[in-house]
């Protein structure tokens, strides 16, 4: 672990002091995207608290010797220059100030927000739990209407401007891609059929959780949309997926209608899209939404914790079916919270989408 990643601070509040210059955070805090702005404001508050702590330390003497080291992100942003060679030209590294390109700065902030949720909510250091550097390439391809995880890094296209806008726009899209890295380094769910739909769903779950975390929202106030702000003006839709109401995110002449089922009764059998990984993910997505709303409060706390535990416990097989996954979430809820309301809510949520979880 490079020394630059190590910042001695006192628990319990991890802060990423010195990584993001306050002037950038000030600007981000006034940014158009409320999620990015909120994340920046939170960090500013945390930084201010930390600086106060340092001043107090100066006045009151040396800190106690047993300091804990809190990790920070190691982000590197690359620009593909509308070509398809990865990773492209390095344009911003960890600790660098903002650049002129807003796309680069959005991706940088989105990676930071995802890192922060994983660390503060679950004590997970980066996506592999061991401080993996976070690399991302923007401006991939020409009018490229997609974003993907290539096994090592995130890749974002600019969109064609007619259907899709810049894929670094919504923070949940950035977090979704990064969560594919988290899944690869934890349960490593196969990217086909039901395990593939679970892989997709876990990315949507943590994508939405990062958005809710940056906005400081409770489960009942969140929009539970994936890709809100990604569709160009004129396209008939609010987002690409809805965890609250799968199948209702868009209905458009060019795009067609959102094909996601909310329950097993409407499960789609198809060979396309790796066996419908982006279609049937609506079912576990909806189960998570139901659980989070049932438990109330901040979704990343108990509901997110149960999903996180499920992915990292070692009990989930790479070829897990929906039923297998549901069973593991019940086991995770029981292990962490006992046989109380959390376990009951997990069983009920799965039952509501037609998956038996015992």
């Amino acid at each position: 672990m490079p020394a630059s990643r190590l910042m001695p601070v006192s628990r319990p509040m991890p802060v990423f002091c010195g990584i993001v210059p306050p002037h950038l955070l000030d600007r981000l805090a006034r940014a158009g995207d409320p999620a990015v702005a909120a994340a920046a404001r939170r960090t500013l508050v945390a930084d201010a608290a930390h600086r106060t702590g340092r001043r107090l330390t100066t006045v009151t003497g040396a800190p106690p010797p047993a300091q804990e080291v809190v990790p920070g992100p190691q982000r590197t942003l690359y620009d593909a220059g509308n070509r398809t060679v990865l990773p492209g030209t390095r344009v911003r590294s960890e600790g660098d100030g903002p650049v002129r390109d807003a796309t680069v700065n959005r991706a940088y902030a989105g990676l930071g927000a995802t890192f922060e949720l994983l660390l503060t909510a679950y004590g997970h250091d980066s996506i592999d739990g061991a401080g993996l550097p976070l690399d991302a390439t923007v401006h991939y391809g020409e009018d490229y209407g997609n974003a993907f995880w290539n096994g090592e890094q995130m890749v974002f296209g600019d969109g064609d401007g007619e259907i899709f806008l810049d894929f670094t726009g919504p923070v949940d899209v950035i977090a979704h891609e990064l969560a594919h890295g988290f899944t690869q380094h934890s349960a490593n769910l196969a990217y086909f059929g039901q395990p593939g739909a679970l892989n997709e769903s876990v990315s949507d779950v943590f994508g939405s959780l990062v958005k809710q975390y940056t906005l400081g929202q409770t489960a009942d106030r969140a929009d539970w949309l994936i890709g809100a702000g990604l569709l160009a003006p004129g396209v008939g839709g609010v987002a690409l997926r809805s965890m609250k109401a799968p199948g209702t995110a868009y209905d458009d002449d060019v795009l067609g209608k959102d094909p996601q089922p909310a329950t097993m009764a409407d499960y789609v059998r198809t060979g396309r899209d790796n066996g419908g990984v982006h279609i049937n993910s609506g079912i576990p997505n909806h189960a998570f939404h139901l659980l989070a709303v049932q438990l109330g409060g901040k979704a990343w706390e108990r509901a997110g914790r149960i999903w996180y535990d499920t992915m990292t416990s070692g009990g989930l097989r790479a070829d897990a079916s929906f039923t297998d996954f549901a069973g593991e979430t019940v086991a995770a809820a029981t292990a962490r919270y006992g046989r109380g309301e959390e376990r009951e809510a997990v069983v009920k949520a799965w039952s509501q989408v037609g998956v038996r979880a015992e």
């Binding site: 398809t84 020409e142 997609n146 899709f164 894929f167 899944t183 279609i279």
Partner: protein
């Protein structure tokens, strides 16, 4: 020559199919050369691909091969890009 591309997957999971018949086109020879090279670079079964990456099926005169982002040959990328723009 009838050339078709079917793109599936991607973050949105939205399918797109475009095709064209090159007969009578002034640039038919160019399309033929591009399509033949793209087919030679293709695989008989779908490659694993990457999470959220686009998957492609290229079909030329009834024969189909597969490829996936980001590992496309230059001919495949060029053919797919042009066909998705210009095909019907």
């Amino acid at each position: 020559m009838r050339i078709q591309v079917r793109r599936t997957g991607g973050f949105a999971g939205i399918e797109r199919v475009r095709a064209m018949d090159t007969s009578g086109r002034p640039d038919a020879q160019e399309w033929h050369a591009l399509a033949e090279q793209a087919m030679r670079d293709g695989r008989d079964s779908p490659p694993a691909g990457v999470p959220d990456g686009f998957r492609y099926q290229l079909t030329v005169d009834g024969r189909t091969v597969y490829c996936a982002d980001p590992r496309l040959s230059e001919a495949q990328r060029k053919l797919i890009t042009r066909l998705l723009k210009e095909g019907a």
